[in-house]
């Protein structure tokens, strides 16, 4: 059976509401109105060992609820969930030994202690044998370039530094499964690239299974072979990024840099963006052949530079979200 096995997972929350203003506040003291929110409305998927899966969806789609169920923090109302043949919330202590989690916005390091002491504390809590720990720690320190940060109290680290230390902290006990929730949020470009590079190596060399939730689709594009798209508590799509793209549009984009601004009219292509000398055309490669289009345009306009690319993943996902907005 697959490493992570989820069938028809359901979970709803009661959210209390009150009318705005003073009157509402007092009314709330007497009677609370509740609304039921269905965070998970039957989620089903499987993840095989060694996969790296991007878990995406609009805000409130049920991403963190799923991750919490998978980590054993949250008990679902119904449905099946097995991680490495264990039910997470029933066998929490054994389950979490196999699990590393990074919530990008929250640190798991001790704020007032030097990083290295947080690491030692995690070693003790997970009961990692000293030799394994020393090896793994050395490797992580090297790969994440955090050697010179180890003696700094966490509160004095920059966000990028802290995130790298946090990722190391989540892996010190050698988990088979890693949940990453927005691991690159707020990071500068070099830190982002470093984190992505590290995750790729981790999957390739250690065979770690990674589930990545993020709003940064560049993360997904750089890392994930497979994407799960969830909206309103349901899995809408499960496949590669390319197949995700296909469901929305076959279009490609042709970006032109003209020597001087010009209005472009070309059958089989439409202008999606024009600002000064920069023009972006959209076309369907099945109807209009790309070489022909380029040849026609190059013949008629003064083109300084051009390149063809697919529709940016952000636009694809925005279109999908809009389609399923409820």
């Amino acid at each position: 059976m697959s490493l992570i096995h989820v069938r028809d997972l359901r979970k709803s929350f009661r959210v209390s509401e009150r009318a705005p203003g003073m009157v509402g506040a007092f009314a709330g003291l007497v009677r609370r109105r509740c609304r039921i929110v269905e965070a998970l409305a039957g989620v089903t998927f499987d993840v095989e060992a060694g996969e790296i899966v991007g878990y995406i969806g609009p805000n409130g789609a049920g991403k963190s609820t799923t991750i919490k169920v998978l980590s054993g923090i949250l008990v679902p109302d119904s449905g099946e969930c097995l991680v490495g043949s264990r039910v997470p919330w029933r066998d929490r202590l054994n389950h979490v030994r196999d699990l590393g989690v990074v919530f990008g916005q929250r640190t798991q390091l001790w704020w007032d202690l030097p990083v290295t002491e947080s690491f030692d504390l995690l070693r003790a809590i997970y009961g990692v044998p000293r030799r394994d720990f020393a090896e793994r720690r050395e490797l992580l320190v090297e790969l994440l370039c955090i050697g010179r940060l180890l003696n700094t109290p966490v509160r004095q680290l920059s966000l990028g530094e802290r995130m790298r230390c946090d990722i190391a902290a989540a892996l010190l006990h050698g988990p088979r499964i890693l949940f990453l929730d927005e691991p690159t949020i707020g990071l500068d470009a070099p830190s982002k690239l470093a984190v992505r590079d590290f995750i790729r190596r981790l999957v390739r060399e250690q065979g770690t299974t990674v589930i990545l939730t993020t709003h940064d689709l560049d993360d997904i594009e750089a890392l994930c072979t497979r994407v799960l798209l969830i909206a309103a508590g349901r899995v809408l799509m499960d496949g590669t990024l390319d197949s995700l793209r296909e469901t929305v549009t076959h279009e490609r984009r042709l970006t032109l840099d003209l020597t001087e601004a010009a209005e472009i009219r070309e059958p089989g292509a439409r202008v999606v963006y024009a600002e000064g000398s920069r023009v972006v055309l959209a076309f369907d490669p099945e109807e209009t052949s790309a070489p022909d289009l380029v040849a026609r345009i190059a013949a008629r306009y003064a083109v300084r530079d051009l390149f063809i690319h697919s529709v940016p993943i952000d636009e694809i996902v925005a279109a999908l979200y809009a389609e399923h907005a409820t």
């Binding site: 965070a39 609820t65 054993g72 949250l74 001790w110």
Partner: protein, 263 residues
């Protein structure tokens, strides 16, 4: 087991960093101890009626109370408050350790580290300059040490309960603010328990809190004879057990609620 020891150690090291707070506490507590002592001196001089404790016993009681103020469950763990507010508390449930005992260990550190910083210099000063005495004999000293350990257990169990109430963010904050005043009075921190009128004393004696201050302090001065000190220790351990069970029950409910509500 070593996991829990590591939690105590780490938290202890964090708390030892607060030297300025310790110094401020030290100065304040000397000042207040002095005032409380003078009040009792005036009281003893103006009254001819027999008192439940001798004045030197009261002096010991007061200085021990001032020195051990930080051991008393008077505040909550700021980190736990932040954890609950920011949702970082989820990480606590992702560890292969019993959350209750992890928090209990944090409380042990929270009650010992600041106390150590303050008590040592304060007791030294009180013994040399402010009329505090050493225990009357070795038996009292040994029993006092044992009962102090018992007091630490009760205090940590109560602190843990206060920390757990923070899981109910809004309501918990209120409890964590109100409870210490009640505990302050019923532990003998304001007025030694033997001075309370009988009906109130009956109530106080039915509560666990005097095990933190009143009982061990009276063992120290010999007001409770060394031959009876084992009763104090037994009582402390029994209360600790009750408080731990209650704390575990409360935590199970708090976490379940959090688990149900998400967040």
């Amino acid at each position: 087991m070593s996991a829990y020891a590591a939690v105590i150690g780490a938290r202890f090291r964090v708390l030892l960093q607060y030297r300025a707070a310790a110094f401020a506490g030290f100065v304040t507590q000397i000042f207040w101890g002095w005032i409380r002592l003078m009040v009792f001196q005036a009281f003893y001089q103006s009254s001819a009626a027999p008192q439940p404790m001798s004045l030197p016993q009261v002096a010991d009681y007061i200085w021990l109370g001032q020195a051990m103020l930080a051991m008393f469950p008077w505040n909550v763990d700021g980190e736990i408050r932040d954890m609950v507010r920011t949702g970082r508390v989820a990480y606590e449930m992702l560890r292969p350790a019993d959350v209750y005992w992890v928090w209990f260990c944090r409380a042990v550190a929270q009650r010992t580290a600041p106390t150590l910083l303050r008590a040592v210099p304060l007791l030294a000063l009180a013994l040399v300059f402010f009329g505090m005495r050493t225990p009357p004999g070795a038996a009292e000293a040994l029993w006092f040490a044992a009962c102090l350990a018992g007091a630490l257990l009760i205090s940590s169990a109560v602190s843990t309960i206060l920390n757990i109430t923070l899981l109910w963010t809004v309501a918990g904050d209120g409890i964590a603010r109100l409870a210490p005043s009640l505990i302050l009075i019923t532990s003998g921190m304001i007025v030694p328990v033997p001075f309370f009128p009988v009906p109130i004393r009956r109530v106080i004696e039915a509560l666990p809190f005097r095990g933190v201050n009143d009982l061990p302090f009276r063992v120290y001065s010999g007001h409770i004879p060394a031959t009876q000190a084992w009763q104090v220790l037994t009582q402390q351990l029994a209360w600790t057990m009750v408080l731990v069970l209650f704390g575990r029950w409360l935590m199970a409910r708090g976490l379940k609620r959090m688990v149900v509500q998400g967040g």
